[in-house]
C-alpha cells in the first residue's frame, strides 16, 4: 500500500455509529454468556444460583444481573478452570507475574490472537503510528502479555518491529540510535530510566528519531507525562490493558491525550461502587468492570479490575465514538490505608513531581512501630544540586512534605536520597516497600 490513510481500515470500528455498536455489543454479550454457561462450570453454577439462563440476557442493561468475577476466582480455578474452549483450540498461554502465590493463566484461540493483534493495531493507529514507524518493543517477551501483544499489533500495522524485550539499557540506547527508532513501547518508569541514562551518555535526544512512546503496565500520572515529554521531546501515550481481559489493547489514548478510548466492540465496560457492586452512571468514579464480548478461550463476565476511574461519555475531539475512561488513578490493590486515610502511590507521585530539584524516582516505605503505621517517602535529589546551603535543602524537604500533605491530607516525612540510590526497574516499578509484617 503506497499511501497511509488518516484512519486505518481496522480502526473504522473506533468510529462506529453508537446504535450499531450497541446492537453488536448485545449480540456478542449473548454469545459470550451462552459460551460461558455451556463451557465453564463456575459461571454456570453462579448463574444457576441466581436462577439465570443465557436467554435472560435481553438487553445490554441485563449484564447487571450477572454475577461478578473476582481475581480470587481466577486463582481458585488455576490453571485452566475458566477456559471456555477445548485445549486443542488454545494456541497460546500467558500468565500474570503472580507476586503472591500462583500466577493467573490465560489462554487464547487463534481467533483471540487475531482480535488481540487487531486491537493493538488500533492502539498504535490511534496515536498516529503507521507502517513507516520503527518500533522498539521494550516490553518483556514471555509469559507477560505486554511483549507479544505489542509485537503482533505493530507487525500487523506494518511497522518495523525491533523485538528487543526488556532490560540491557546500553543495548536499548544503541538500538534506539542506530536503528532509527521512531516509537518505543515500555513501562513509563523504564522510560524515565532510559532518559536518565541517555542524558548521562554522549547521545542527545535531538539526534534520536523517537517521537512516540506507548507507556503502560503500571499506573502513572499526568505530572510524570509532563516530565517525560519535557525531558525527551517525545509524545507519551497511556495504554491500558490487563492480562485477565486480553493484555494490552483494552484501551488507548488518542492524540488528544484526554482519557483512554476503550474498544467497546470487544469489551463491555461498567463502573461499579467498589463496596456495594452497584452500577454507577457515566462520569462517576468507581471500579472498572469488564465483560469480554468476543473472547473464546478465556471469556470474562463482569471482571472486577480493581482499577478506579470514571467513564467519559462526551464525544472526543478525535471523532471516535467509542467512549473513554479517565486515566487510571490507581488500582485499588495499591491503595494504602495510613492512619485511616486512603492514599494512592499516584497521589504521592503527583505531589513529588510538582516540586523542582528532585528526580522522578521515589519509593514509599511502610513500617509499623508500636502498632502504628509509619510512612516515609524517599525521593532522589537531582544530580545537579541547586544549592550549597543546608537550609535550602531542608526547605526543599519541607516543600515536598507540604505538597504531599496538600494532596493526601497527611503529614508524611520525606527523605532526600542520593541520585541513583533507588533501584531501577526494567519492568513495573516497585513504588511501595511494605515492611509492616517483617518488622512487626
Amino acid at each position: 500500500m503506497d499511501r497511509h490513510y488518516k484512519i486505518h481500515t481496522e480502526s473504522l470500528a473506533d468510529f462506529v455509529d453508537v446504535d450499531v455498536l450497541k446492537a453488536v455489543q448485545l449480540e456478542r454479550l449473548q454469545d459470550t454468556v451462552t459460551r460461558c454457561y455451556n463451557n465453564v462450570a463456575l459461571f454456570r453454577t453462579r448463574m444457576e444460583e441466581r436462577g439465570l439462563v443465557p436467554a435472560d440476557i435481553k438487553t445490554l442493561g441485563d449484564v447487571a444481573r450477572l454475577p461478578f468475577t473476582q481475581k480470587t476466582d481466577l486463582r481458585d480455578t488455576y490453571p485452566y478452570g475458566l477456559f471456555a474452549a477445548p485445549m486443542n483450540e488454545v494456541v497460546r498461554l500467558h500468565a500474570s507475574s503472580g507476586t503472591t502465590g500462583k500466577p493467573i493463566v490465560v489462554g487464547y484461540t487463534r481467533d483471540d490472537l487475531d482480535v488481540w493483534s487487531s486491537l493493538m493495531l488500533r492502539c498504535f493507529a490511534a496515536v498516529g503510528m503507521t507502517a513507516n514507524d520503527v518500533v522498539q518493543n521494550a516490553y518483556g517477551y514471555g509469559l507477560f502479555t505486554g511483549g507479544l501483544g505489542a509485537h503482533y499489533g505493530a507487525e500487523r500495522l506494518g511497522a518495523t518491529v525491533v523485538p528487543i524485550s526488556g532490560g540491557n539499557t546500553e543495548r536499548q540506547m544503541m538500538v534506539m540510535k542506530d536503528f532509527g527508532v521512531t516509537a518505543i513501547c515500555c513501562t513509563p518508569s523504564y522510560f524515565v530510566h532510559l532518559i536518565e541514562r541517555i542524558n548521562a551518555s554522549d547521545v542527545n535526544f535531538n539526534e534520536l528519531k523517537v517521537t512516540t512512546g506507548i507507556f503502560g503496565a503500571e499506573p502513572w500520572t499526568d505530572e510524570m507525562r509532563q516530565y517525560i515529554e519535557d525531558a525527551s521531546g517525545i509524545k507519551a501515550f497511556d495504554i491500558y490493558g490487563l492480562s485477565e481481559i486480553i493484555g494490552p489493547g483494552v484501551g488507548i489514548e488518542c492524540q488528544a491525550q484526554a482519557g483512554l478510548h476503550i474498544f467497546e466492540d470487544h469489551f463491555l465496560m461498567e463502573i461499579v461502587n467498589p463496596e456495594t457492586g452497584e452500577v454507577m452512571p457515566d462520569g462517576e468514579e468507581g471500579e472498572l468492570v469488564f465483560t469480554t464480548l468476543t473472547k473464546q478461550a478465556f471469556p470474562m463476565i463482569r471482571y472486577r479490575t480493581h482499577d478506579i476511574t470514571s467513564i467519559v461519555s462526551e464525544r472526543c475531539v478525535c471523532g471516535r465514538t467509542i467512549r473513554r475512561i479517565k486515566r487510571i488513578r490507581s488500582r485499588s490493590d495499591d491503595m494504602m490505608i495510613i492512619r485511616g486515610v486512603n492514599v494512592f502511590p499516584s497521589q504521592i507521585e503527583a505531589a513529588l513531581m510538582s516540586v523542582d530539584n528532585t528526580e522522578p524516582h521515589y519509593q514509599i516505605y511502610l513500617r509499623r512501630k508500636g502498632g502504628l503505621d509509619q510512612v516515609e517517602v524517599k525521593v532522589e535529589i537531582a544530580s545537579h544540586l541547586s544549592t550549597d546551603r543546608i537550609r535550602e535543602i531542608e526547605a526543599m524537604q519541607k516543600k515536598l512534605s507540604h505538597a504531599i500533605e496538600h494532596t493526601v491530607g497527611l503529614r508524611i516525612p520525606v527523605q532526600l536520597v542520593e541520585p541513583g540510590s533507588i533501584a531501577r526497574s526494567e519492568g513495573k516499578a516497585k513504588r511501595v516497600v511494605d515492611l509492616r509484617d517483617e518488622e512487626a
Binding site: I381, L385, T387, R389, I390, I393, G420
Partner: protein, 142 residues
C-alpha cells in the same frame, strides 16, 4: 578572587564520606581542604579542590548530587585575633556569613579562612577596600 567549592549531598549512612574520598583518590584528585556540615537527616560535604572540574565530572558519574559555588579564601596571621579582624570588616560592611571554615597549612604562620558570604560581589569589594589579602587560586594552591 573567588575559589570554586564543591558541595556533595550525602545521606546519613556509614561509609558515605569515605566513598567520596575513595572516588577522588582513585582518580588521583587531591583535596586541598574539606568540611562536613550535617543535619539529622543528611549531610553536605564541602570540598576545595584544585582540579574541581575533573572532580565534578567524576563525582557526577558516580551518581553524586554535586553543586559548585564560589567561596572566598582569606589569609590571616595565625595569631589571636586573626579571624576577629576579618569578621569585624565583614560586620562593618554589612556582610552576612552563610558559613565558613578555617585551616592552617603545615608549619606556616598564617591560617586560611574560607568564607561563603550571602553576597559574594559585595564581599569582594568590601575586602578589597579594606586591603585584606584575598587569595587567588594560584596563591591558594601554591
Amino acid at each position: 578572587m573567588k575559589l570554586k567549592q564543591i558541595s556533595v549531598f550525602l545521606e546519613n549512612r556509614p561509609g558515605h564520606v569515605n566513598h567520596i574520598c575513595r572516588v577522588l583518590a582513585k582518580n588521583n584528585i587531591d583535596i586541598a581542604t574539606l568540611t562536613l556540615a550535617d543535619t539529622a537527616e543528611f549531610g553536605l560535604l564541602r570540598l576545595i579542590i584544585r582540579e574541581w572540574e575533573k572532580a565534578v565530572a567524576v563525582l557526577e558519574s558516580e551518581g553524586c548530587a554535586v553543586n559548585v559555588t564560589d567561596v572566598m579564601a582569606i589569609e590571616v596571621p595565625d595569631t589571636p585575633g586573626g579571624l576577629a579582624n576579618v569578621l569585624a570588616i565583614a560586620e562593618q560592611g554589612g556582610l552576612s556569613v552563610e558559613y565558613m571554615y578555617a585551616f592552617s597549612l603545615g608549619n606556616s604562620d598564617t591560617a586560611q579562612l574560607v568564607f561563603r558570604f550571602g553576597d559574594m560581589e559585595k564581599a569582594a569589594t568590601c575586602f578589597g577596600e579594606a586591603g585584606i589579602n584575598v587569595l587567588a587560586a594560584v596563591e591558594f594552591y601554591r
